[in-house]
């Protein structure tokens, strides 16, 4: 059994009824019975955007988990209704770039057959809940976030009170030492931990977010019990729904409300609301926690021993070693590991995968990773349960389809939005810049020497690629019709999240790769032994970078 949530008849009926509802709405829209602006939120809450060239359908991958059965269905859909490729996003969703509006109800019906949907992947509502791509297998995990994500998914699905919030609302859950889900820049961040007695508790943060006014989330409550999690979320959402600004969409996110009220006052308001609703039928019973958790119990791992991976690398062909170092993640079970397939090969748009690749990925996941695939917010795919003894074989097969690029976590494993090539909001293109950077930095030894570095490229200030929290963040801006790029350094999306600082005036696209080279040379000159780029930035500040890039006078 794959450790993922299986629908029962209730879950299935709910998504099936959703498909019928949207089919009816689409027909009424096409018949002219629903006005454009009134159809807008209905289609958005089913993941359907109208983009620069065509509609775009965003399908949810709840907290990043897919069975190979689902992967094959996505591949099938992309061939049947689209151009045979898909795009993985920064929020554990997958997008089809060219579906026809008329066919979207059929696509949703095909998805519902494999327990998938596009519910609330857009619109001013509670979006897909995201988490750590290594949930359930990471060594530093304290609490498995997956059952809690599923519980939150069900609570938020068609929540009648919160379908028309002031603005979109994103929740991320983290249950490990390291935050791999960027919870500090979400509307609500949920940190699962254990108290001194070993019981599960949640720390609740709110008011993080990027966009025009980037902010790191504040702690709203230090500890809440599992049975109270949903009523506490209800209380936060109610305060936001009633008091969040609706007069200006740029000031409508919860972060603005939290800042305006101050986190202390916001927290008091939430507490007062919660006091009134906590004793209700919505208390989460232990039986439900158990029921959902049953779906995520460990698969039957074999009793294996850890391999000496360095020894393994010696026997392997050239190229394996750097992939092993960079793309293989330790697993809680001896003899196993998790493998990242970066979707960042030079020449392909970051996050894009073809249908042919998806089919092979599904076959490989069946063969090597218990029939399951994960999606990360870095727009990569993960095989979470690979036996170490199969690593060389798997690497060879991945290399054959161009999915063994050894750049996980490195400069060229950038997070990149679709940008001006696809998105109507963008001020500048992101994908061609990503490619130019990948072409410039094509020496894998240099990349490994530079080490772990988050590069995030957003095509506009909506910050879909989270450029504020990239170690290096690039923002596309429009200056009199010409694409320019502003560069910032020193951001971080970890638990001690910080926002990057802009180094100075923006650059033309062709200048950016050599500017990055200068920035990296400052780091290489100034780093202490084993110090990561972001740590050097935070230690030395932005002045040395400014001086190198703009000359002393700047």
């Amino acid at each position: 059994m794959i450790p993922m949530y299986k629908y029962d008849e209730y879950d299935q009926r709910i998504v099936d009824e959703r498909v019928s509802q949207f089919r009816d709405q689409t027909l009424r829209y096409l018949a002219g019975e629903i006005a454009e602006d009134e159809f807008l939120p209905l289609r958005l809450q089913n993941g359907l955007y109208v983009q620069r060239f065509a509609p775009m359908l965003r399908v949810a991958i709840p907290y990043g988990l897919l069975s190979t059965h689902q992967v094959r269905r996505i591949s099938e859909i992309s061939r049947k209704y689209d151009k045979g490729y898909v795009h993985f996003t920064t929020r554990q969703n997958v997008q089809l770039n060219w579906p026809l509006l008329e066919q979207v109800p059929d696509i949703l019906a095909d998805l519902a057959e494999v327990e998938m949907h596009a519910v609330q992947t857009s619109g001013a509502c509670i979006r897909n809940t995201t988490t750590d791509q290594f949930a359930g297998v990471a060594r530093d995990e304290i609490v498995d976030p997956r059952p809690w994500c599923e519980i939150i998914r069900q609570w938020s699905t068609f929540h009648p009170e919160f379908a028309f919030l002031p603005r979109k609302f994103k929740i991320a859950v983290c249950g490990s030492e390291q935050d791999r889900a960027a919870t500090m820049v979400h509307d609500i961040g949920v940190h699962a931990f254990r108290n001194e007695k070993g019981e599960v508790r949640f720390k609740i943060l709110a008011g993080g977010g990027l966009g025009r006014t980037p902010m790191v989330a504040s702690v709203i409550r230090e500890s809440i019990e599992p049975e109270n999690l949903l009523t506490y979320l209800d209380a936060i959402l109610r305060v936001y729904n009633r008091y969040g600004r609706r007069d200006n969409k740029y000031k409508a996110r919860i972060k603005i409300l939290v800042k305006a009220m101050t986190p202390e006052v916001f927290s008091q308001k939430v507490e007062a609301e919660w006091e009134q609703i906590k004793e209700s039928a919505s208390l989460l019973p232990e039986t439900e926690i158990q029921r959902v958790s049953q779906h995520f119990i460990d698969p039957e791992y074999q009793a294996l021993n850890d391999h000496d991976l360095n020894d393994l690398a010696l026997k392997a062909p050239a190229g394996f070693q750097s992939w092993l170092k960079q793309n293989v993640f330790p697993h809680k079970k001896p003899g196993y590991c998790a493998v990242t397939l970066t979707l960042k090969a030079t020449g392909d748009a970051p996050g894009d995968v073809s249908a042919e690749q998806l089919d092979i990925i599904a076959d490989l996941a069946d063969q090597y990773s218990l029939g399951e695939l994960r999606v990360s917010h870095e727009q990569n795919l993960i095989f979470a349960d690979v036996e170490q003894s199969a690593l060389i074989e798997l690497w060879e097969k991945l290399s054959a389809i161009g999915l063994a690029t050894a750049n996980r976590g490195l400069l060229t494993d950038m997070i990149c939005c679709p940008g001006g090539d696809f998105c109507a909001l963008a001020n500048a293109r992101s994908i061609p810049l990503a490619e130019e950077i990948q072409r410039k930095f094509d020496d894998i030894d240099y990349l490994h020497d530079v080490g772990e570095l988050d590069l995030n490229i957003s095509g506009c200030m909506n910050a879909c690629a989270h450029h504020h929290v990239g170690h290096i963040g690039i923002l596309g801006v429009d200056r009199k019709g010409i694409e320019y790029y502003q560069i910032q350094v020193g951001g971080s999306a970890s638990k001690d999240a910080s926002l990057g600082k802009i180094i100075g005036p923006s650059f033309k696209r062709e200048e950016v790769p050599s500017v990055l080279e200068k920035i990296l040379s400052v780091y290489i000159d100034q780093r202490h032994e084993d110090e990561l780029f972001v740590d050097t930035c935070q230690r030395i500040g932005i002045t040395p970078f400014k001086e190198r890039v703009y000359g002393q006078a700047a």
Partner: protein, 162 residues
């Protein structure tokens, strides 16, 4: 005249919203804006007319707590259908203030939001003029199951699954 959807049927009904202006005579159902309640209430109570309290989406419901029991009808305004505050107001009326009377959606009331309104405790709807009555009636039953507890049924699905 407006079309009122109530108890799965659609009626023609006349209604009037009273604000700051002084009105000599009124007809049909009279809805008094909460912030101008004091101005009208005494006079209206002498007449034998149906009177309701009219809440705007930004009204601070808590300020009118004392008044609620005087009414059997409370209307909640949706100035735009995208303004979701009315859902919270209705839920507060039902769940916190135990309001047992009729809660009516007024304003930009569209077929595709009625199901959620019903879940939040609304019991009647003045449909916007261009909305089809039969679609609205059908929309009341869009989903046969719901995950969350709400004013229409406080038991979440997880209490029924066990």
């Amino acid at each position: 005249m407006a079309r009122l959807l109530k108890n799965n049927e659609v009626f023609q009904e006349e209604y009037q919203v009273l604000g700051s202006e002084d009105v000599e005579s009124t007809s049909g159902t009279v809805l008094v804006q909460a912030k101008h309640l004091d101005q009208h209430l005494q006079r209206l109570q002498q007449h034998d007319q149906p009177i309701g309290l009219f809440l705007d989406s930004d009204d601070e419901l808590e300020a009118y707590e004392e008044q609620l029991s005087n009414f059997e009808l409370i209307a909640i305004n949706f100035p735009k259908f995208m303004d979701g505050r009315g859902y919270s107001l209705s839920k507060l009326l039902r769940d916190r203030y135990q309001f047992k009377g009729d809660i009516r959606a007024v304003g930009d009331v569209l077929v595709d939001q009625i199901f959620m309104m019903k879940r939040c405790g609304f019991s009647s709807y003045y449909l916007r003029d261009d909305q089809k009555a039969e679609d609205a009636i059908k929309a009341l039953d869009t989903f046969t199951l719901r995950y969350q507890g709400s004013s229409d049924d406080p038991e979440p699905l997880y209490r029924k699954r066990a």
